[in-house]
């Protein structure tokens, strides 16, 4: 045990530091070390994308330092943003994501409320069941799902395959279970007395959900929204399988199928497209992040 004397602003005090604070100091150093390592590791690819997106095709293939832009140009950005095709992908992605988020929330919020609060026969099993469906990987599901939609087309004559809106039926199989699970957790953390108070005050189940649970669990709702948006925006396998015509493609698939021609990779535009595609989730995170921090349940009960 050693003691360190430090001078603080007047009045001067002698503070003894024990081994606890030394442990803490080392713990902090290690965490900074690994966090820095992690930041470099995960930020390198986007930085490389940015650098590449600012180069012309000639400079990309030239044998110069790949980490530096010698002749910066916006030609890739201009090229993509004036291409109707790229804007179409963007539009499709936006449509799919917005609809999927809406559908997901409309299903999973009431589902989570019912599973978390209305005790009914089999509700606990059902809650676990909902989560288990999330554990089945999409690489296992896409063939049977394709078969289902093909059969559906045969029987009803309604052709959904190769339409962007087929994704509105498929993505919720990924987003609904997980969002329901998140919301069950949030709803379960709301004290039971809060809904009892609402019920005694004369609220119906629906009013309890809309006027008490949703506002109180807003951080959870936002977390679920972000998740659903990210999943539908970045989904690759399903749109690759279910959509083929260029006017039906979403962004991730569109970039790959149109900017790689045979064995020619248009790296500059691929990187630009990927960067532009990453922008909307980033913007949404930035705006909604603050809501995570707000401890909205504070003050509901004792404390």
């Amino acid at each position: 045990m050693s003691s360190v004397t430090i001078d603080k602003a007047a009045p001067t005090r002698t503070v003894k530091y024990g081994s606890m604070s030394r442990d803490r100091k080392w713990a902090l150093r290690w965490s900074y070390f690994f966090l820095t390592l992690f930041a470099i590791f995960s930020l390198l690819p986007p930085i490389y994308m940015l650098i590449t997106s600012l180069k012309s095709s000639a400079e990309i293939s030239a044998a110069t330092n790949p980490w530096w832009v010698f002749h910066p140009t916006l030609e890739n950005y201009v090229g993509l943003l004036t291409s109707n095709q790229f804007l179409r992908f963007f539009w499709n992605s936006a449509l799919v994501s917005i609809f999927v988020v809406t559908i997901t929330m409309l299903i999973s919020v009431p589902a989570a409320f019912a599973l978390a609060r209305m005790r009914f026969w089999g509700s606990a099993t059902l809650a676990t069941g909902v989560f288990l469906t999330y554990l089945i990987p999409d690489s296992l599901l896409f063939i049977p799902l394709f078969k289902v939609f093909a059969l559906f087309g045969d029987w009803t004559g309604i052709q959904l395959i190769n339409r962007w809106y087929v994704l509105l039926f498929i993505y919720p199989t990924l987003t609904v279970p997980f969002c329901t699970w998140i919301m069950i957790g949030y709803f379960a953390s709301i004290p039971k007395e809060l809904d009892e108070a609402a019920i005694i005050d004369g609220a119906s189940w629906f009013q309890t959900l809309t006027r008490i649970f949703i506002p109180v669990a807003l951080p959870g709702l936002i977390a679920a929204t972000i998740f659903a948006f990210t999943v539908s925006w970045a989904q690759f396998l399903y749109p690759l399988v279910f959509t083929t015509s260029t006017d039906q493609l979403v962004l991730p698939v569109g970039i790959i199928t149109t900017l790689i021609k045979g064995d020619v990779f248009n790296w500059g535009q691929i990187m630009t497209g990927a960067l532009l595609g990453a922008a909307p989730p980033l913007i949404i995170y930035a705006f909604l992040m603050d809501y995570y921090i707000a401890g909205l349940t504070a003050g509901a009960t004792k404390g």
């Binding site: 809060l194 005694i200 005050d201 004369g202 506002p215 003050g299 509901a300 009960t301």
Partner: protein, 366 residues
């Protein structure tokens, strides 16, 4: 406002009977306190009156109507919870008016009622704050305000003061009493704190193991407990129970506590207990305040004995003394100037005019 009646109300959870056939009549305007140790069924009973729990058997009536299958919102009751259960995203005013807004009351009336309740509870300045900006006592006032604005038939309180610190609890206790004196709404109040029960109630219902042990005014329960449970539960420090038996010595009835200590019973008590079989195992119930220091002018029926004190607890206005009688721990209350010391012998006086005699096996007060 209305009377409330419970008729053979039973609550079963699977195999466990939490409430075992309760009969209770609560008069209009009455303040009833359900008190008992945790798990005695008092909260379950309250929640059944509220409609938050189904009843397994029996009937609950509010204002003469059976409400067994009436949902909580149609029972016209208001409830205050232990942890306040304020809506965290609403201001104080919104919290209080939530029920009225759901019922589409005119805005002017909502405002009038909220203002009036806020004035009554002295929270007018807090009306625009959120619950997290309030202290525990303020939150509890808001919770009460939410109940008052509804102007319900019955108020239900579920341990409303348990989360507050001791000082605030005493203060809020008085507030609740004041509010009840003003609004006079029929009130059912659940607590495990017998002091709260005694100070607030018109009548106290002592519950134990899902049954009612005794119903009575605070004074009745204190002075005429019906069972050992009630005798031991009401009063702090608790009543002493000392094993004893009755003896006839020279034509007088004596109460023998130990080989050394036996007291002649006062005539009134002797007449009352004379018919009891002398073989019964009995318990003497005596409250600490009837075990005091001995002094020169003892009245009739007050008997003295010597004891060696184990521990003394100076409380300021009195000193609690603990000693053993044949291994039974006993507590007495003596004057702080009586010179009680740990480990020292002391001459004590027992007021047999205030004694109780209990059957050790049945627990009944004889």
């Amino acid at each position: 406002m209305a009377d409330v009646a419970l008729r053979k109300v039973v609550k079963r959870y699977d195999d466990v009977e939490a409430v075992r056939g309760i009969d209770l009549d609560i008069a209009d305007h009455e303040f009833i306190v359900l008190v008992g140790p945790s798990g005695c069924g008092k909260s379950t009973t309250l929640r059944m009156i509220a409609g938050l729990e189904d009843i397994s058997d029996g009937d609950i009536m509010i204002g003469g109507d059976i409400v067994n299958d009436v949902p909580p919102k149609d029972r016209d009751i208001a409830m205050v919870f232990q942890n306040y259960a304020l809506y965290p995203h609403m201001t104080v005013a919104e919290n209080m008016s939530f029920g009225l807004r759901l019922k589409h009351y005119p805005k002017a009336e909502i405002k009038a009622r909220v203002t009036e309740a806020a004035r009554l509870l002295d929270i007018t300045d807090l009306i625009d704050r959120k619950p997290k900006q309030l202290s525990g006592g303020q939150r509890q006032r808001v919770a009460m305000g939410r109940a008052i604005v509804r102007n319900p038939k019955v108020f239900l309180f579920d341990e409303p003061l348990s989360n507050l610190d001791a000082k605030l609890r005493v203060q809020m206790r008085i507030e609740i009493k004041k509010v009840h004196q003003k609004v006079r709404t029929t009130t059912v109040y659940v607590t495990h704190d017998q002091v709260e029960a005694m100070t607030l109630a018109d009548r106290v219902v002592v519950m134990n193991k899902g049954r009612i042990e005794q119903i009575g005014t605070p004074n009745e329960l204190y002075h005429k407990p019906a069972t050992r449970f009630v005798a031991g539960f009401i009063g702090s420090p608790a009543m002493n129970f000392i094993p004893c038996r009755l003896e006839d010595v020279g034509g007088t009835l004596q109460l023998r506590l130990t080989d050394r200590i036996a007291f002649a019973l006062p005539p009134a008590r002797a007449a009352r207990y004379n018919a009891l079989p002398r073989t019964d195992k009995l318990l003497l119930g005596i409250r600490p305040e009837h075990l005091t220091e001995s002094h020169a002018h003892l009245g009739p029926g007050v008997e003295t004995f010597d004891a060696v004190l184990d521990v003394t607890e100076p409380m300021g206005m009195e000193t609690l003394v603990y000693f053993g009688l044949d291994g039974t721990p006993v507590c007495g209350r003596v004057d702080p100037n009586a010179g009680a010391k740990d480990g020292a012998p002391m001459r004590l006086a027992m007021d047999l005019n205030n004694m109780h005699l209990l059957n050790e096996e049945t627990g009944a007060v004889l």
